[in-house]
Symmetry: C2
Subunit: 395 residues, 2 copies
Amino acid sequence: MTIILKNISPWGRAVTDLAVSDGRIVSEAPAGAQVIDGGGAIALPGLVDAHGHIDKTLLGMGWRPFTAAAGVQSMIANERRLLSEIADFSPARQSARVVDRMVARGTTHCRTHVDIGPDIGLAHFHGVAETRDAVRDRMDMQIVAFPQTGVMTRPGTLELLDRACAEGADAIGGLDPIGIDQDPKGQLDGLFAIADRHGVEVDIHLHDRGEVGAVTLDMIHERTKALGLKGRVAVSHAFCLGSVPDDRLAGLIGKLLDQDIAIMTHGPSGDTPFPPVRRLHDAGVRLFTGSDGIRDSWGPLNSGDMLQRAFIVAYRNGFRRDEDIALTLDMATTGGAQVMGAAGYGLDPDCTADLVLVDAETPAEAVVEHPPRRLVMKRGRVVAENGRLTIEPAG
Amino acid sequence: MTIILKNISPWGRAVTDLAVSDGRIVSEAPAGAQVIDGGGAIALPGLVDAHGHIDKTLLGMGWRPFTAAAGVQSMIANERRLLSEIADFSPARQSARVVDRMVARGTTHCRTHVDIGPDIGLAHFHGVAETRDAVRDRMDMQIVAFPQTGVMTRPGTLELLDRACAEGADAIGGLDPIGIDQDPKGQLDGLFAIADRHGVEVDIHLHDRGEVGAVTLDMIHERTKALGLKGRVAVSHAFCLGSVPDDRLAGLIGKLLDQDIAIMTHGPSGDTPFPPVRRLHDAGVRLFTGSDGIRDSWGPLNSGDMLQRAFIVAYRNGFRRDEDIALTLDMATTGGAQVMGAAGYGLDPDCTADLVLVDAETPAEAVVEHPPRRLVMKRGRVVAENGRLTIEPAG
């Protein structure tokens, strides 16, 4: 398929045409191409939602009011109860519904943490792996094997995580080694051994705040270095980076840089502390973002729209300047793509033709207005227009 | 004009039909009415944007990057410089552009603070008053005479505010009597005298944090009581309510209740403290919200969409439960309507037919998804559909 997108503005730069052939961006417009008028819209590479939980969304199952008590432990218990009560809950179908929502909003790459634990075994992993295969024509997906109910406190979990990585998980996840497991050495040694054995990435949920989280980051750094995993480890949420004294933060930043550890923040709601985006970026720390859970038992606030997510990260950081807002857009595009190791990502010739058109004057306006996407293209094929799928839904 | 909206869900309750005749909701469907299918959408009364600055938006003038340094004083100085540099700046045209944007997003009532000061005199006030008249068919608008550059530090300002109220301003505004003027007695005595003389409402910007703001609230309470203005005073932003010790907060809440003083918060960006919505509501304090400045020199983050605003207030408060999210919707509807004294507001028979249809299953979903509005009606006339005006724009 050969297409010329006329009258588009890559990253808000001068208006130009962009030619696509055989799923790639090409520098010479081939003869006989289909012409699509971009109307002067901004072209961005496909949005990257690099932290999700698409296996357990309740999308399409009717509005579900939030019912949990406060605190991570009670949220987890509430979720297990809820999911076990839904007789026909299907991680494959549900994750496909999220993918449809994401694609319509311009997301072409996603990394999702998938629950694995003694209660559900690998059922969610197998369901999402099925979806990952089924949606390859519209979404590049990475799966993180995620111990949502804890690791050391749930015997058998490490073995299940190991099996998931043997069966094709792209990364090994973790969860508050101190707050949930009270055994940071046990959890982290177990996770890093799996990463080492299978050659997968590491992406650890770290909600523990202040010094508890900081000590955990120290330990993650130590293991990353010992196993030669530099550049292959990410820490998600990392609330501690927003809740330690300044000199401690400076030391942690040094460790993140030393092992090129990437940090994910989605700009949490409420008064939850979060990593200081501008400071980390200026220091050279790689940053990315994601939707977190979309319409699941953890709450209804996340939408799966990565331009809205960039807006939320900007809003939570108090960003008003174009160059600050651009940081949040980078997190939702190139930052996530880098963490996912997305080959050929971008708008240059020879890049994969994964892109989104947004009616806005500047990239900053694209973030703050996040209007329905004018057009979404995946590997050279138009998959959504004006906020709606133009292909058969997966979910 | 007589219309039957079929198949709509008032406030998310049972699906029903709603009849409109001569600009009012009627209990009996008249014969020969035009039938509009609501598709099961939620019907809400028209959204209320009860804190804006529509005189100085830069909407429609090209994307303007934010250029100010931090701090209220430097923001003000930057704004004066910018506005003075735009030769053809027209508060009438600009405010009309904001009204168009608001109407398309379902807002039927707005209260706007309008800059008045020795440098610009009443020019902005006259421009917005012109717009207020021009848009009466689509928007009920209140004007607050607002001393953006200070009161006591800018001799002549009180006289200008007094003239604006004589010429039809609906309320007298104020600005950080301590932080900006260092003369709380002078500013507040001056403002309240004007309110007393003209019988207008009071709505004071209070950014001063902690005890500085708290002392100012004490003084506002004292003057409200002394002049018998109970129920006619509002305080906007009131960051101090989010930044005083708990016992001090309890005392301030008592004073707000004693004089029925309403509080406005728009859920500020960054780490700005803000009034605790759930606590104030449960105590009985009247709450409302608004867009604040839309695409002006103060920054690009506000959109003029009051369902998005409710979402932001929910997000900043960490609300996940339906009953909490409903609070933010109340602030963007009935709360603001009450502050504005909007007669006949609501969805009951005999109410003015100001309403908006939103494709959502529940009011909470309307807030978190804030999709383009299906239909907006003002006094029985359809003024917008699917997010776009169906009437001649004003701006």
